[in-house]
């Protein structure tokens, strides 16, 4: 019944898309309102499933898809938690879109695809067989591809869409092979059948690698992430928010479903590749983000970082599960799922903020913004909360999930394998480095855009955006604070999922802990209380402010900036986004990006200007993708000759191929 209602809502989204083509073109608000209502229905279903989990997942078979097999759909607690993330984010983002779409010129190219995109993501999570999963996955990929092309007149977007298309096809192909292996030669393509099917150690390992590549290419794991920082920023901002905040999470869902549920964890060392790839992704993601000057591209790289953090937690969970420590595996999985939710919240918030900036100033370049805290106070405040949350600062939600991940890493003495004992703390140190650079990155992001003096006329004349956008950003910000101060209650929400995937793995219910503290393992081991910290900080800050002003002095005078006595009125003299990153570039740039500074200072008497230039190389692109794309182009050039043959030659080619295939068949069947 509950699955039927969910599918009906998804069907409703499809109908919305059709109606958007026919009538809704000029009134985008109607389409988005319809999306919101269907998302709310799905959200209610997800909430109900999580609060009152049933022992047996309800499955529904529809007579669609492959004949005689049909299409299977089911909702268990794992689907429910991701339904919650998808639809909560989608509902709030749609509120933002109502306002944003007024300034969008390409509504006709956005509205029909947007509901199908939402429907696709929901269907991936609902599907209970390989065919349905892959079909929904392709819906999700293709509609998001179409949305990336909404502004198709910009050459950069065309290139982004092309690379995205190639990478998405590759990912789906890998997933197809994954499911093929999972089902076996004569197995069933339903998830039920795959769970029952046992694989040999060899093919199970192969499934792990394929699943990591297939879902990782969508989630943005290094080195398959190259499309992400190109494609996510190219889409309209509310779609960027969904692609970064939610679609990457659907890929995480795919990984958890395949590895934890369908495949089962066979060996302790399986966590190692996942952890290493996750660590590399997190570190390279945030380091690339620090050097970006395009608002949305910076956020996209930071998505890569956060996906890395999620995969580190998943890798730890797999290692603990493989070594038969279900309770510790449960803590790691909880950390992963909490970070899935938290990242969806603050990343969507920041992308909506970037969208508002685009509306208000018409630019994505950080070098042209500045001082917007005065012109756009509400956007600035919500962006500040988002920046603090993504920098993992207490008491916001980003800190809660990273704190839990650190707690998991501190459980590493329980590992019996040496490699894991040494790897886990090293990954922990890398994670700490990543978190610290993330804080630097978002000081730079917020500081360059909202603080300082305006760097262009557009920034000087910006106005606050419409109320819908502000309400949406406010809701995201509130969720960042709430899930940060009571992480224990958020952890209780994902308990059924841990129970489902790791028997006996769920941590003790947190709602029963006094003072709403978060105690993942044991009270004498570690505890954290976000709500108390928030109260302490706010009360002591306001107490001191009141005290100082009452007792001492409250006089205040406005004057020109001091700046050591030589204030320069030109806004060019302040620090820019690039100059802010310069110390970090000097520390990390030469090794990882081959960053070089070229300074030319003419000799005295020479009238040429002094020049300064920085070059940064994307090593992954240079080493992996450049040769491959060169090879493909080369082969394509050679094959080009076949395009201009005569009919006779084509026919003889066909005949030759046929003879060749028959020969092979004859030889194979004889032996």
């Amino acid at each position: 019944m509950i699955v039927l209602v969910a599918l009906a809502s998804v069907a409703g989204l499809f109908v919305t898309a059709l109606l958007a083509v026919l009538v809704g073109r000029d009134r985008p608000a109607i389409t988005y309102l319809a999306c919101i209502s269907f998302c709310l229905v799905l959200l209610a279903i997800a909430g109900a499933t999580l609060i009152a989990p049933t022992s047996a997942a309800e499955t529904l078979t529809l007579p669609l898809g492959i004949p005689w097999i049909g299409m299977h759909f089911a909702i268990d607690s794992l689907s429910a938690i991701f339904l919650l993330v998808v639809n909560l984010t989608a509902a709030i983002t749609s509120v933002f879109a109502i306002g944003y779409s007024r300034h969008e010129h390409a509504n006709a190219r956005v509205l029909p695809f947007y509901p199908v995109f939402l429907a696709g993501m929901n269907l991936v999570v609902l599907a209970a067989d390989a065919f349905g999963f892959l079909l929904a996955w392709e819906f999700m990929s293709l509609t998001s591809w179409a949305l990336v092309l909404a502004q198709h007149r910009e050459a950069e977007n065309m290139r982004a869409a092309y690379i995205y298309f190639v990478m998405a096809s590759l990912g789906t192909l890998t997933l197809l092979l994954t499911f093929g292996l999972l089902a076996g030669v004569d197995g069933s393509y339903t998830f039920e059948g795959m769970r029952a099917h046992h694989l040999s150690a060899m093919s199970a390992g192969l499934v792990l690698v394929l699943a990591l590549a297939g879902t990782g290419s969508k989630a943005g794991l290094v080195p398959l992430h190259v499309w992400l920082p190109l494609a996510h920023p190219a889409a309209p901002s509310h779609v960027s928010a969904l692609m970064s905040g939610v679609m990457t999470k659907v890929a995480v869902y795919g990984f958890i479903r395949i590895v934890f549920d369908l495949l089962g964890i066979h060996a302790w060392w399986w966590g190692i590749p996942v952890m290493v790839v996750g660590g590399a992704t997190a570190f390279l993601g945030i380091l690339s983000a620090v050097f970006q000057t395009d608002t949305k591209r910076l956020l996209a790289y930071s998505t890569v970082e956060n996906i890395g953090i999620i995969f580190i937690s998943l890798g730890l969970a797999m290692s603990f599960a493989g070594e038969d420590h279900p309770l510790y595996a449960g803590v790691a999985l909880t950390a992963a799922l909490l970070h899935v939710f938290n990242h969806a919240m603050f990343k969507s918030l920041l992308f909506c903020g970037a969208g508002s900036l685009l509306v208000a100033t018409g630019t994505r370049s950080m070098e042209k913004l500045g001082g917007l805290i005065h012109r756009m106070p509400v956007t600035a405040f919500t962006a500040l909360i988002g920046s603090a949350a993504i920098s993992a600062l207490p008491p916001l939600n980003g800190f809660a999930s990273e704190w839990l991940l650190f707690q998991t890493i501190l459980l590493s003495p329980s590992f019996s394998a040496w490699s894991l004992k040494l790897l886990a703390p090293s990954i922990g140190a890398l994670l700490a480095l990543t978190a610290a650079i993330a804080a630097a990155c978002f000081v730079r992001y917020f500081g360059t855009i909202f603080l300082g003096r305006p760097r262009s006329a557009e920034a000087e004349q910006a106005h606050e955006v419409d109320r819908y956008s502000l309400v949406a950003m406010g809701m995201f910000a509130a969720l960042c604070v709430i899930s940060g101060v009571v992480p224990g209650l958020a952890a209780d929400f994902v308990r059924p999922v841990v129970d489902l995937l790791l028997p006996n793995g769920a941590m003790a219910p947190q709602a029963a802990v006094p003072w709403l503290s978060f105690v993942p393992v044991a009270p004498d081991r570690s505890s954290y209380n976000g709500i108390l910290l928030l109260i302490f900080v706010l009360s002591s800050a306001s107490l001191m402010a009141v005290l100082v002003r009452k007792v001492a002095s409250h006089r205040l005078r406005r004057s020109a900036a001091w700046d050591c006595g030589f204030p320069d009125p030109r806004p060019e003299t302040q620090y820019t986004a690039s100059s802010f990153a310069q110390p970090l570039r000097r520390v990390f740039g030469p090794l990882l990006f081959g960053a070089k500074e070229h300074v030319v200072i003419p000799s005295p008497g020479d009238l040429n200007p002094a020049t300064f230039a920085v070059t940064i190389h994307d090593r992954i692109w240079d080493v992996i993708y450049q040769p491959i794309s060169g090879l493909v182009n080369n082969i394509a050039d050679k094959l080009n000759r076949f395009q201009f043959l005569t009919v006779r030659r084509y026919l003889s080619l066909v005949f030759g191929t046929l003879v060749l295939l028959l020969l092979i068949l004859a030889i194979v069947s004889r032996s």
């Binding site: 501190l410 590493s412 630097a440 003072w515 004498d524 001492a552 002095s553 110390p583």
Partner: protein, 326 residues
């Protein structure tokens, strides 16, 4: 233990001890700074300002009017109080004279690192608010230093927590007090690493010079250049508190003797407070001696210094796994 660890209704003594800790550290922080300056001046052959000079400075600053840049935003005005509050809360939760205080469990060691990071995040933003070149240079260098110092701090936290099997500071401090710990190479390395971080995070020589004002090597002072009056007083006070945070952390983890345990009597608390004072005197003397012996380094040598701290911390953690005796 579960029931008594986080009591829903605290006892009166627990509340009193928690408040005593809060106000003790607040009162002592400027004195500690004054003491350090005095010792350093004596070591350099100067007479130096009286040890109560920081109190006089603070008093003078809060009396003055605030001169605010025309384009300073609300963030600029609220950051001093926020930075003060995060540092004060962090310090209030560290065992100084007594462990197992009322609210110690609300933030473990990782959360205390996080609280300090929150303060620094907002201070770096405030440096960018007015849009001057000095603020920008200070902020960008501060985040560069923090991006290496914070992970180094976390690796020290790893080492200590893995030894004590807890991230709770009271539990760590109590554990370190017991004789089972003994001398360990890992802990020695963690201590050295934490001292290096403390020097860097507080902007002391050789990383930064708190006494200079107009050099391009400056970090912290450039960042807060635009502040005046009561705002500056708050930032100075927060700076003094932060120095005491690091000293108290080192004291509670590596020199845990004399900290009164859970449910101790009044006399134990008094003894604990005296010993804490002695620890502060020792730390202040050592800091002053260190600062007068060493020269300030170039800003781009700092990554090497902090990279060494990071590697020391990581090595200390990994050595723990190699042998129990480390």
């Amino acid at each position: 233990m579960n029931a008594s660890y986080q009591p829903l209704i605290p006892s009166l003594e627990a509340v009193a001890a928690q408040f005593a800790q809060m106000f003790l550290v607040l009162a002592l922080a400027p004195l500690f700074v004054g003491f350090t300056r005095k010792v350093r001046a004596r070591l350099l052959g100067r007479r130096g300002p009286p040890v109560v000079q920081p109190y006089r400075d603070l008093y003078r600053l809060v009396q003055k009017e605030v001169v605010l840049a025309t384009n300073a935003s609300w963030l600029f005005r609220s950051v001093p109080y926020l930075v003060f509050a995060t540092t004060w809360v962090a310090l209030s939760l560290i065992p100084t004279f007594a462990s197992g205080l009322l609210f110690t469990w609300s933030a473990d060691l990782i959360a205390i690192v996080g609280l300090l990071a929150t303060g620094r995040f907002f201070l770096a933003l405030a440096g960018l608010d007015v849009g001057t070149s000095f603020g920008g240079i200070g902020s960008s260098r501060e985040v560069m230093i923090a991006s290496l110092a914070e992970p180094a701090f976390i690796t020290v936290v790893f080492t200590v927590s893995l030894v004590a099997r807890s991230t709770d500071l009271s539990a760590i401090s109590t554990f370190m007090h017991t004789s089972v710990v003994g001398l360990r190479v890992s802990l020695a390395m963690a201590l050295v690493s934490l001292m290096m971080i403390a020097v860097a995070e507080n902007g002391r020589i050789p990383i930064d010079n708190p006494a200079t004002h107009l050099e391009l090597t400056m970090v912290h002072e450039a960042m807060v250049l635009e502040y005046s009056g009561r705002h500056l007083a708050m930032i100075e006070l927060a700076g003094a508190l932060k120095l005491v945070v690091y000293v108290s952390l080192i004291g509670s983890i590596f020199v845990p003797w004399g900290i009164a345990g859970r449910g101790a009597g009044i006399s134990d608390y008094a003894l604990g407070a005296l010993i804490y004072l002695a620890k502060l005197v020792g730390a202040g003397g050592m800091l002053a001696l260190f600062e007068s012996l060493i020269a300030k380094m170039r800003v781009f040598r700092v990554p090497e210094f902090l990279g060494a701290a990071l590697m020391l911390g990581l090595l200390a953690t990994l050595l723990l796994f190699v042998s129990q005796s480390f």
